[in-house]
């Protein structure tokens, strides 16, 4: 787990999984097709604007609602490198970790505007902000670090429980 760098996309509180991935697309299974609708309910232009490594910066309760893993698949396939939020819906958080997408809980909102370049150090638990400031967060505990480093829970289950 090293450093991640990307542009910030700012979202408000309570962005639910129906906004991250609307229910009408739940019949899609191809990750690329799923990614074409990422964040559509909150910002229809997001799939066109997002570039690999970009970072979602949200308020509280990001990903509340449905258990649909399509929400995480959509963000990951669209190239989102990490999601920063003041808090997360529990199932979304678990899905993100299980698929190896860093979901980072912050104590305060970062001083960043749409498009600002952020650098996240997952080991140190820091975010370098455009104004030179540093925002700290609690680094992942060893159990979660192991899942993210392994690229998600499936490779880990395969090697540890079924190996």
């Amino acid at each position: 787990m090293g450093k991640l760098q990307g542009r910030a996309f700012i979202f408000k509180d309570n962005v639910d999984t129906d906004q991250i991935y609307p229910g009408r697309y739940l019949e899609l299974t191809d990750p690329k097709a799923i990614a074409a609708h990422a964040m559509e309910g909150a910002d229809p232009a997001f799939p066109e604007k997002v570039r690999p490594g970009d970072i979602i910066v949200a308020g509280k309760n990001f990903g509340c609602g449905s258990s649909r893993e399509h929400a995480v698949i959509a963000l990951k396939e669209a190239g989102v490198g990490a999601v920063l939020a003041l808090s997360f819906g529990r199932i979304f958080y678990r899905n993100a970790i299980n698929l190896g997408l860093p979901a980072i809980r912050l104590a305060e909102a970062p001083k960043a505007a749409e498009g600002d370049l952020l650098t996240i150090d997952l080991e140190e638990g820091t975010i370098a902000l455009p104004d030179g400031g540093i925002l700290s967060f609690a680094p992942f505990p060893p159990e979660i670090r192991k899942i993210i480093q392994g690229g998600g829970i499936i490779p880990l289950v395969k090697s540890e429980q079924l190996g």
Partner: protein, 421 residues
């Protein structure tokens, strides 16, 4: 220090004498659930694991209910993928169209859930089964895949919150109103990561159907589980359906809670949650003039017998406003049949409503009642998020079946008392 019912169930399934909130445990699960939109993703992940067989073909439930009967070709492909997996692994509890129902109405009815059990489901409303004194929680498809292979999963032990209801409910107040009252009070993230325990004489007085409705919407406050300690009503419900051994757990008197809330039922009237969050609740007496285009009565929240009986009581001998489409969806085939035998289906049709085969359909904007831009729907479902039932500019108002039926007749949000006089 004692333990809560949630902690006791998790400890028992982790082979431990006790667990404490925040602890990470690996626990054996009694049942793994998936549906036609989450299981296909899980099946692909399961195949990546490279295992030959599932951990126990009797402990997996696969229910096509979201987009089934197949709404289009893509939905048909998803349903087929799940059906073929069920056949290949000889899954005992696969429910084909004709047997299937809305998963969270179906599983308790079929005796697949018992007190004290640990159930995970790749559907956020899996928390419904807490009404039977089980610990049941929603997970994603990847977790479902891992659990189908190993029969166990990692859990963070949640802290518990207790919500106590005192007194007698006012007329037309049901489980839906009690849970909306809590969500309106603590907010849509008020119980994030928590087990929500419901107690008090107000809960004891609720029917099992009302208790399922309450636990169903624990997730709408961010809860990991909703849970009610089993009592005589629970045992009577389970006795008719479950023939295996099960454990009854209840919280110790000195168990620790992160929060205890006490509510007086005398102050609670039927509630409506306005767009676009379940926490935006208003008493029915204060909703103002809100014309509606559609009313939906059904779903894993309110698609059970008691719900249909209440709706029929109001619709009996009356007509739905000509500007309103009323869609009634019984939760399972057994409920459908019982409603037919009681004459409820006739009442709905004579009132001008349509009755659908069991499906989640409109609740998540799938099919069977999608909203156009600017349309408003009063619905007994569980979520009123932006675009939940269709166009991003449509609106969903969450209510109990009595309010939904009364509103269908009035053509606007209305209380049952306005209709019945």
């Amino acid at each position: 220090m004692g333990m809560t019912i949630a902690e006791k169930i998790l400890a028992a399934h982790a082979g431990k004498a006790r667990v404490v909130p925040g602890e990470l445990i690996t626990a054996k699960v009694d049942l793994v659930l998936g549906n036609d939109i989450t299981a296909p993703v899980a099946i692909k992940e399961f195949e990546r694991l490279g295992v030959e067989t599932v951990f126990d073909r009797d402990r997996i439930a696969l229910v096509p209910d979201h987009f089934v009967p197949n709404k289009d070709i893509k939905a048909a492909e998803q349903a087929r993928l799940m059906r073929e997996f069920a056949r290949k692994h000889q899954i005992t509890h696969y429910f084909e169209v004709g047997q299937m129902g809305i998963e969270h109405c179906l599983l308790p009815e079929q005796g697949l859930v018992a007190p004290g059990e640990l159930i995970i489901g790749a559907d956020s409303h899996t928390c419904t089964y807490g009404a039977l004194g089980a610990f049941a929680t929603g997970v994603g498809s990847t977790d479902m895949a891992a659990a189908m292979a190993t029969g166990e999963l990692w859990f963070k032990v949640p802290a518990s919150m207790k919500f106590v209801f005192h007194g007698e409910p006012k007329p037309w107040v049901g489980g839906k109103d009690l849970i909306l009252h809590i969500i309106g009070d603590i907010g849509v993230d008020g119980a994030t990561y928590m087990a929500m325990e419901f107690a008090g004489e107000g809960i004891a007085a609720l029917s099992m159907d009302g208790r399922f409705t309450m636990c169903n919407m624990a997730i709408e406050a961010g809860g990991k589980a909703g849970i009610i300690a089993p009592d005589a009503k629970t045992i009577a419900y389970v006795k008719e359906r479950v023939d295996r051994e099960y454990e009854i757990y209840e919280s110790d008197k000195d168990a620790a809670y992160a929060l205890v809330k006490e509510y007086d039922l005398a102050t609670i009237e039927p509630l409506v949650a306005f767009p676009h969050k379940p926490e935006n609740t208003r008493p029915i007496s204060q909703v103002g003039h809100v014309p509606i285009d559609q009313a939906v009565i059904g779903s894993c929240t309110n698609g059970r017998m008691e719900d249909l009986r209440i709706a029929a009581k109001i619709l009996e001998g009356r007509k739905v406003d000509p500007r309103v489409r009323l869609i009634v969806i019984p939760g399972t085939q057994a409920i459908y049949l019982e409603a037919m035998e009681e004459g409820l289906i006739k009442t709905f049709i004579e009132a001008g409503g349509v009755v659908s085969t069991p499906t989640c359909g409109p609740c998540l904007g799938g099919y069977m009642g999608i909203l156009a831009a600017g349309e408003r729907c009063v619905s007994t479902t569980n979520r009123n998020f932006v675009g939940r039932m269709g166009h991003p500019q449509s609106e969903v108002y969450l209510a109990n079946p009595a309010v939904a039926a009364a509103s269908a007749i009035a053509g606007r949000l209305a209380s049952p008392e306005e209709i019945l006089g």
